[in-house]
């Protein structure tokens, strides 16, 4: 309906009929309220969805889908497009069938129903969940041409749940013990071990994300929220918590989620996600179509060790940097949105961002990480990302010196 106004060379611009003619949406009724009692995005945004990389995994049940971070702004990730990682599919577990056992080295092994959990004091907080393998495919160099794929194994939601500490206290945990082991109800979940120090600190047994119930694929009805720690620990469909003196060394913490260094020795229990950032737009899936002049560079920064304090952005591949604007005072272990407003001269640019957190940690380059870890650690790749933006506004994932 209505063509855009055409430029008429050397003369006044033609009137835009979208303005000069009454359009149907200004004449007729739109949708009634509650057309969708629970709504979805407009079909015009059909492409802002989770995506998979088929060749990554043998099937889609133990696989990953990626958050479309290139098309989002702000910091909150809607549950509907938040990345998924399952090891044997997203199970359907009713609240009525839900049980949580707290046992091991406790005075009173206990079983809680879902309704029981709702009776404990609860907390609400925002936290990012990043898979330890996020950017893993990029470890050896530029590979996937899109921020969704290179950095999309992350989401950031507001969680509500019971502090794990309260459940451990309820069971009378043995205070001399140093670990808890946490496990889900799905077949794949052979669990993870977490230092009890962390468990007593800020871990939540969560039942809401962004205000509403967890979605099935995010662990309905109950998942663990382990702020700042790698996503594999955020057990979905949480069913058991065992207080222990030693870690279990389960398959997920030996065969997987360990980082092999140059000498063949693998770091184990690498929990915290180090400070990291990425420019989400422009990026390969979000090219610039408007030519030179004002350009908004927008991105995300986060740290599993605290709050972001500063993000720097370079347009020339790291020769010169500018301090970006942070959208809001950054919260610890939550995504932080940064912006740099530039006047683009239309020439090729090499875009990078660099995050700094309140522990003083400065996001390293991949070269620095390679020098420290060798070429095989793969997990925990928080190296600086480079986008080549060409004069035509198209963007590519590249590696630079």
């Amino acid at each position: 309906t209505g063509a855009a106004a055409a430029m008429v060379a050397g003369r006044a611009r033609a009137d835009d009929t979208l303005i000069t003619q009454v359009q149907p949406w200004s004449r007729n009724l739109g949708d009634p309220v509650a057309a969708a009692p629970y709504g979805l995005p407009t079909p015009h945004e059909f492409d802002v969805v989770r995506r998979t990389v088929d060749w990554l995994t043998a099937d889609a049940y133990s696989s990953v889908s990626f958050t479309p971070i290139h098309a989002l702004d702000g910091t909150i990730t809607p549950q509907g497009c938040a990345f998924e990682r399952h090891h044997s599919g997203a199970i359907d577990l009713r609240k009525e069938d839900y049980r949580l056992m707290v046992m091991g080295d406790v005075a009173r092994p206990l079983v809680f129903t879902y309704a029981d959990l709702e009776r404990f004091p609860r907390d609400t907080r925002v936290a990012f969940c990043e898979c330890a393998a996020n950017s893993g495919m990029e470890w050896r160099g530029a590979q996937l041409n899109g921020a969704q794929y290179s950095h999309g194994m992350i989401h950031n939601m507001e969680y509500t749940g019971v502090p794990l500490r309260l459940l451990l206290e309820e069971a009378g945990y043995d205070t001399s013990r140093r670990w808890v082991y946490v496990e889900g109800a799905d077949a794949a979940s052979n669990g993870r071990s977490i230092p009890i120090k962390k468990a007593l600190d800020d871990v939540l047994v969560a039942f809401k994300a962004n205000g509403e119930a967890l979605r099935r694929e995010h662990g309905y009805p109950v998942r663990l929220v382990v702020p700042g720690f790698e996503g594999n620990l955020w057990i979905k469909w949480l069913r058991r918590i065992e207080v222990r003196d030693t870690p279990v060394h389960s398959r997920e913490e030996t065969s997987k989620y360990t980082d092999t260094l140059a000498d063949g020795i693998s770091r184990q229990f690498t929990f915290a996600m180090d400070a990291k950032s990425v420019i989400t737009a422009p990026s390969p899936q979000a090219p610039v179509r408007h030519g030179d002049g004002p350009l908004v560079i927008s991105g995300l920064a986060w740290s599993g060790r605290g709050a972001i304090t500063r993000v720097d952005v370079t347009l020339d591949g790291g020769q010169n940097w500018k301090v970006a604007r942070l959208a809001a005072p950054p919260a610890p272990m939550a995504l932080c949105r940064f912006y740099l407003d530039v006047a683009w001269d239309g020439a090729e640019m090499l875009l990078q961002s660099r995050a700094i957190d309140d522990t003083g940690y400065v996001q390293p380059t991949k070269a620095q990480l390679h020098a420290a870890r060798g070429m095989n650690s793969t997990y925990h790749n928080n190296g600086i990302q480079t986008w080549l933006m060409r004069a035509d506004g198209s963007v590519e994932n590249v590696e630079v010196s």
């Binding site: 770091r267 390969p284 090499l350």
Partner: protein, 187 residues
């Protein structure tokens, strides 16, 4: 803190049903036994479709053998044989999560047999080996000492704490690699 009095006591049978994790020292293993040759037959029936007759892996399904001596190479091959530090973990994982799509259907004796077969396919035990809850923890895995606790705090933290350079940080920049050369991104 004063307990809230919420939840109820877990019964012994309930605890037994869910407390099936197995530690490196074998604690948690149920009594049972199984040999590699019976394991081979079970493996052919229930596992080989994905993992291959010799546990070598089919297509993109994981291989469970090989890779010795590759962990410090450019392309480490991580398998049960080359990478897993503890044999009881194999029992734990197979018992709980395999066969994929039909998990927790194997009897303990079957799991012992399958574990014996996978270990023998890795030349870690002989082809006639029988394993029990007593003997399994004694199997020494090659990469037993291949793990170290996270030392990023000591080994790396100092490396990235310097006040970063802001201007004229390097004389030139060169593009070394392009995602489009690989061309592996979904369309």
């Amino acid at each position: 803190a004063q307990p809230f009095g919420l939840g109820r006591a877990a019964t012994p049978a309930e605890i037994a049903a869910w407390d099936v994790d197995v530690a490196p020292d074998g604690s948690g293993l149920p009594p049972g036994q199984g040999g590699a040759s019976r394991g081979e037959a079970l493996f052919a029936d229930f596992c080989a479709g994905c993992h291959g007759d010799f546990a070598e892996g089919v297509g993109r399904w994981p291989g469970l053998i090989g890779g010795y001596g590759t962990l410090d190479s450019r392309d480490p091959v991580k398998t049960v044989g080359s990478f897993w530090p503890y044999a009881p973990t194999l029992w734990d994982y197979v018992n709980r999560s395999m066969p994929y799509g039909n998990a927790q259907t194997l009897a303990p004796d079957d799991v012992y047999a399958l574990v014996a077969y996978i270990l023998s396919a890795n030349d870690l035990v002989g082809p006639d080996t029988h394993l029990t809850e007593k003997t399994l923890p004694n199997v020494v895995m090659p990469n037993r000492h291949g793990f170290a606790r996270d030392d990023r705090g000591k080994a790396e933290r100092h490396l990235w704490r310097a006040e970063p350079c802001m201007t004229n940080c390097k004389p030139e920049v060169e593009i070394r690699m392009r995602a489009t050369d690989l061309d592996v991104t979904p369309k």
